[in-house]
Structures are given as C-alpha cells and as structure tokens.
Symmetry: C2
Subunit: 225 residues, 2 copies
C-alpha cells in the first residue's frame, strides 16, 4: 500500500468568523489521508467566533506553511478583514502557491479583494451574491462553484458539500464517500427552506429586514473603500 | 416586541472530541434569540479536537451555569471520558436541572453512563448503534430521536438536524426556518452514501475494517469496565 500524499490545508482564521464556515469543511478535509490542517491568523491569540467560544490558531501568518488547499471562511468579521492588509497579503501569497484556492460563504469577498475572483464564476452566501460583481466575479447559482483551481461555495453549511466535492476531485469518489459515511452526512433537514428559492417568503423577508439588508450594505461599503 | 427568553446551552467539551459534533449544533443553537452558549470542560485548558486544532472552553465544570439545554458531543475521546468520574458527575448534575438532555454521535454513551438513557429510545453514530443496549437504551433507526426530554442524534453531521428540530420544538417552525435559512442549510451532498443503508457496500466494509470495528470494540470494552 503506497503512502497517502501529504496535503497541507490552510484555513484563514479571523475575529468574527462564522465558525461553521471553518469547522464543517475542516471536519471533512482533516480526514483526507495525509492531511495536515493549519488554522492561520494574524497572531496566535484565541480567535473569537460568532458563537461565543474561541478557537486557537495553529500558526500565525508568518509561520504558516504553504497551502495545497487554501480555504477562506466568511462571517461578519469579513467586513473588517477586507481592510486589513496583512490578511489580504497572506491570502494572495498563499494562493500563488496553492493548488486549490477556495472559500465558504462570504469568504469569497476576501478572495476577491486579493484579486483572485477577477473574471471567474463564483458563489457566496445567498444574501450577498449580488455583490460578487464588485470583485469582478460572475455569480453562478450553485451550492459549490468550480472555476479552474478556484472553488467557492454558498452560505455556511455549504462548506460540507464543498469539502466532499473537493476530496472527490483530488482522490476519487471512493475517498469522498468514505468520509461522507464516516461523518454520517445523510442530511434530513426539518424544513425545505434552506435557500430563499424554497423558504417561505415571510421567513426570507423577515431575515433580510432583521439582518441581511444591513449586513450586505456594510459589505458593499467595505468593498467600495 | 417582547424580549426573547434567555436560554443557556451547555456543551460538554473533552479531549478527542469530534469537533463538528459540537460546532454544527452550536452554530444553529447560538442563533436562538436569547441564547447563551457555554463550552464546559474539566479545566480551562484548550481542548484538542480530532481535527488538529484546539477550542477554548468558556467555563470549567465548577463554574458552568445550569443548562436549559445540555448537549454532549461524541468522538474518540468518549472512550476515555467514560472512565472519568468528574465528567460523568457533571453530566448527571446538569441533566437533573436541564429542560433538554441531548447528545450527538457517540455522546449518547456518556449520557448512558450517567444513567440517562435507561429504558429510552435513542440513537448514535451508525457504527455504534448495536451498543446502545449496554446503557439500557433501545435503538430507534432515525437521524434524530426524541424520547421526552432526551433527544439523541446520529453521527457527526446529524447535529444540524437535531439542533434545528430542537429549535422548532422550543420556539416554533418559523424560528427554526429562519436559522436554517441563515446558515443556508440546503444540503446537496455529492453522494447518496451518508448512511450504510445507502452507501456502496465496499465503502462501508472498508471503513469498518479500517476504523469502526476496532473503535466499536474499544467502546464496548469501556462500557463494560
């Protein structure tokens, strides 16, 4: 039996990350034989997540090894990270040497700010897809969008579908199926409404009014500045 | 508009946790209006997860507030945790005052060791369901099993379905639908094989031979001791 190739997977961590954007694909990708998972941040300080607990980075930007897979999660903290040169430089530098350059949710806009979505098909969280042209990307209505080495995915939980799709590309269907079975990813959501195309209109409108209209406006302002 | 009731959600953290057993339901439950999420562990030291990064507890066992929802995740570390009296005592003490007593994946066996599954219908990760009678439970073949205040769920990713189901019970369908839409839980797994009933037999058999036959034997030995 040949040894599995080593694969270095670097996730960007930043304050205000939506933690499942990181932790869901991390769960699938860390079971890739030969995987080494890196959580890279500006410093080794604990990263406060959106859920009230903190995650420890494994490396700071300077010490992080070169990624084979670079993955940029999203979250409300993206708005601030867009203005942080060290973060954007880290993404650009890592992307230049990576085989796969990927994002989950609004992490797409950090890839975009680093110039990595210019002329590409891409996706992001449903409440932000209309902003993709601001970083030169064309929205494709899919949960996972592959455009050459750049793979973007939709909101939060789409990171699972993204990660399994990527494992299948890299190591074949059987490897991805084994991971999918190990994490019992046989979803049975209680409602059909995980996307505005299928959610009750009142639920979508309520959520936009309470959260996403303002959040998308903040993102647009940060992308303009 | 009336203020949302406060809900304290206590997750047990322990070394060798399968991090998504915690992070997936945490992502849904932390968006419950009025939610306060607690990650409780034996000490405040970082908790090494199965994915190569660490999570910081918010409280140690002594300082953790009483849960409204107690949630016990699983992972390879369960085998060791089964023999740790402080952990089992914490579960029993918290469960006595909680409205909901819940588990994801092999966390069910920690509930069981604390005497909480006696005579109940329950589930766990597919590779361990045959061991449920060792803690007095009867396996029910479902992704989320509700038996009074005790809600158990299947392997790893089932924590999402569990959390949204619980939100619907507690606050109604619209509250759960809003969270499901916010985290874009509109799953599109690349394969149909997230459960042995649907996975290719070779994938299931390979995974059992490589991982789960031995892991289930270790769990059985720990449950006997």
């Amino acid at each position: 039996m040949t040894e599995a190739p080593q694969t270095t997977i670097v996730f960007l961590l930043f304050p205000g990350i939506t933690q499942l954007d990181f932790t869901a694909p991390a769960q699938a990708l860390c079971r890739l034989p030969g995987a080494r998972l890196i959580g890279a941040a500006a410093s080794l300080d604990p990263i406060p997540t959106d859920c009230g607990f903190a995650i420890l980075p494994t490396h700071d930007f300077a010490a992080a090894p070169q990624a084979d897979i670079l993955c940029v999660p999203g979250g409300h903290g993206v708005v601030e990270a867009l203005g942080d040169r060290a973060t954007i430089d880290f993404i650009a530098r890592q992307a230049a040497g990576a085989t796969w350059v990927t994002s989950v949710c609004t992490g797409a806009f950090l890839l975009g700010r680093a110039g990595l979505l210019e002329g590409r098909r891409a996706t992001t969280h449903w409440a932000y897809t209309h902003l993709l042209p601001m970083v030169g990307a064309r929205h494709e209505a899919a949960r996972v969008v592959e455009d050459g080495p750049v793979v973007t995915s939709g909101g939060v939980t789409s990171g699972l579908d993204f990660a399994l799709t990527l494992v299948a590309r890299m190591r074949g269907d059987a490897a991805a199926q084994a991971i999918q079975l190990a994490i019992e990813y046989d979803p049975a959501p209680p409602f059909a409404g995980g996307h505005p195309d299928r959610a009750p209109a009142a639920v979508t409108e309520g959520l936009k009014a309470r959260v996403y209209d303002a959040a998308a406006a903040r993102m647009a302002a940060a992308l303009k500045s």
